[in-house]
Symmetry: C2
DNA sequence: TTACATGCAAAGCATTTGCAGATAA
DNA sequence: TTATCTGCAAATGCTTTGCATGTAA
């Protein structure tokens, strides 16, 4: 019952990220701090490796591609980012900690979060030997101009 | 109320595919017939470009990579295959015409179909300018041996 | 001091493309 | 005959790797 009044707090999001990084025995190096700032300091959004690279450049900083890819994977592994698989040819990450699904506008490549409570999903429970990791719901939309198939 | 007694009929699936190909003004060439046979003649399953290539080889036939990729895309465009996006680095296609969702066992790369009626999903209706294309539900599972994160 | 991180450039890999030759209708 | 397809090999684009150098604690 709390979720409705939760307000997004970017400062906190960044601090939480750094805390989580350290808790997981990963060093909060300069590069990781810069990336965490870019990722968590601008509200809820969806991030790809190459738009992160652009943003780093725009701030006149330099972080290598390899580090950016590594960092995105690490942040995902420690649970501060979530990978969303909507499209084969680009990895996308989501910084929204709240449980939610995705609306994907296919012909624009645009993604919008849908709060979980707007979709009513009932999945039967799992056998004991299996661990539910995640449920991805992607509602795929096309604008009407694009009418093939 | 019919779905429970519907029996999968591979012969029919192949014939339907060929009919659909011709209906869409695409020629049912030798290559496309071979591929349609492999794809639709073995029951419900999930197919990737490279396992199709292997299957073609195993039958001592030769179809080029380019043709296999093109064909998978065409079959998807005319609606006899459905693309499932579970993993960034491999395109997968599903030959199951019935409405269903997917269970993805992440550490094994295995996919299992879940009939729609086993999952209860309620999506709010779309504004008129948007066209719902598809709803992908992927239930991601890990077996317990794999316990990181 | 030393384990961990970073950067670079090269490698990897699935997929796509351009185009010449082949084929279905 | 002619539009459509196929095959080849090269190109593409994202992501990963190997390794030498740098850095946090």
């Amino acid at each position: 019952m709390v979720s409705a009044i939760k307000v997004y707090d970017p400062t906190n999001a960044y601090n939480n990220a750094i805390r989580k990084i350290e808790q997981n025995g990963i060093r909060a190096t300069k590069q990781r701090r810069i990336l965490a700032k870019l990722i968590f300091d601008k509200g809820t959004r969806h991030i790809s490796a190459d738009n992160l690279i652009d943003e780093v450049k725009k701030e006149n900083r330099k972080i290598s591609m390899a580090t950016i890819y590594n960092t995105l994977k690490q942040f995902t592994a420690i649970g501060i980012l979530r990978e969303i698989v909507v499209d084969q040819n680009k990895s996308l990450y989501c910084n929204n900690k709240q449980s939610h699904y995705h609306l994907y506008i296919e012909d624009e490549g645009k993604i919008v979060d849908i709060p979980t409570q707007n979709i009513d999903l009932n999945i039967p429970s799992m056998p004991a030997c299996l661990q539910l990791h995640n449920i991805d719901v992607i509602v795929r939309i096309r604008t009407l101009k694009d009418k093939k198939n």
